[in-house]
């Protein structure tokens, strides 16, 4: 279980995360919605080690990314951070594919380096992942040759190949037309059915309705309301 407890983060005196707490189970799809500036993206960035909170606890089972104990805040060492990152994936809003590498090269870079796979094994894994995501025909294309939806699927494949237990999506439908948004919904649902925990940050109510088990409303850095998908009406 992914546990976030009393997370605080200030940027230049502005409180961006204010005692933020929530939990995410494996196999569950959780959406966080809220206005721009509510702290949603900062939450994701903290969860992925791109931003250090000022205090609070982020815990994946019994592995801590950071914790506050007796009012003392400590952050993971390099090694723990690396393990944490292996178990947690992130698909960026702007995808951030490596432009000088083909789709396949984008995907195998981390397994070779992080999981110490050899190139053949990594390629095999990558091709399997591309098949799930239905992008195997673009394996030799460069990112600039892909459409928005294809770029996103390449980015998802790049995160999936490391077999994370939890995967975060930052505004997954913001760059897609409505037809493609349906595709991403089914990909996300498919992942959670394989016991992956999914966290989505979005403005897209259709996406929330189509995928999520639970919804959190975020405002001024904290959760203001929580509802199950059945209670969720917008």
């Amino acid at each position: 279980m992914l546990k976030i407890k009393e997370l605080n983060k200030k940027f230049k005196g502005n409180l961006v995360l204010n005692n933020l707490s929530f939990e995410l189970n494996k196999g569950e799809i959780l959406s966080i919605i809220g206005k721009s500036g509510a702290g949603k993206t900062t939450t994701l960035r903290c969860l992925n080690g791109l931003e250090k909170p000022d205090s609070g606890t982020i815990q994946l089972d019994n592995l801590f990314l950071c914790k506050t104990e007796d009012e003392k805040f400590s952050y993971a060492q390099k090694k723990e951070l690396r393990i944490f990152r292996r178990r947690m994936g992130l698909v960026f809003q702007s995808f951030n594919l490596f432009p000088h590498m083909t789709v396949l090269e984008n995907i195998i870079e981390a397994p070779i380096k992080v999981l110490n796979m050899d190139k053949i094994a990594a390629t095999r894994e990558a091709l399997e992942t591309l098949e799930i995501i239905e992008l195997e025909d673009k394996k030799d294309a460069y990112p600039c040759e892909l459409s928005g939806g294809q770029k996103q699927r390449a980015a998802i494949a790049r995160a999936l190949v490391l077999q994370p237990e939890y995967l975060c999506f930052d505004e997954p439908t913001s760059a897609l037309d409505p037809e493609l948004s349906k595709g991403i919904s089914s990909i996300i649902k498919n992942l959670s059915s394989k016991d992956m925990g999914i966290l989505i940050i979005t403005h897209d109510m259709d996406l929330v309705r189509n995928t999520s088990d639970r919804v959190l409303f975020m405002d001024k850095g904290k959760i203001t309301k929580e509802s199950t998908i059945n209670e969720f009406v917008v």
Binding site: R86, F92, N96, P99, H100, L162
Partner: protein
Amino acid sequence: MIQYIYSLIPSIFEGLKITIKIFIITVALSIPLGFFVALCRLSTIKIISKVTQFYIWIMRGTPLLLQLVLIFFGLPYVGLVFNRSTAAFIAFILNYGAYFGEIFRSGIQSIDKGQYEAGEVLGLSKTHIFIRIILPQVIKRVIPPVANEVITLIKDTSLVYVVGIGELLRAGKIASNRDASLMPLVLIGIIYLILTAILTRGFNLLEKKYEYYQ
């Protein structure tokens, strides 16, 4: 006429050899130096970054001709004596190292932060991210400004006359004065044009090589 030109060839060829030698050694050493300068300039250790900034300011803020003169004629006063060509190499490498350093720095800084973050999230180390993800993209971006600088360098090599080294332009000037003719200088001009044409072509091919992605 043809015969006159023919008679100039040996001395011009000697000068050309010197020009090319200075050019190649400067390029070969100032580009790695520039890379190092860029890393120092971007260092999070303040003192390193400041010292590098000072060095860049001195090198870009004074004429290369002046630097040549000071290194060859000035440093002996503080006990540092170099022969002509060593002094010339030092001046050229230090000067061009500063320019290349700024080119590489701006190239590194122009890469989107998201590229680093994508690497980090995948668990790649900082060094690995820099070498495998950032650097290849930097190289593509800096080719045009580096080409500019390299073409300037081939012409700047003529400045070494000031410490008494006989390079291409000097060979032409000597012949021009001796024979009261502009012909040798025209010839030298054509040789410079040929050299720059070769370099331009080379850099165009290099740019093409990196065109496979955007």
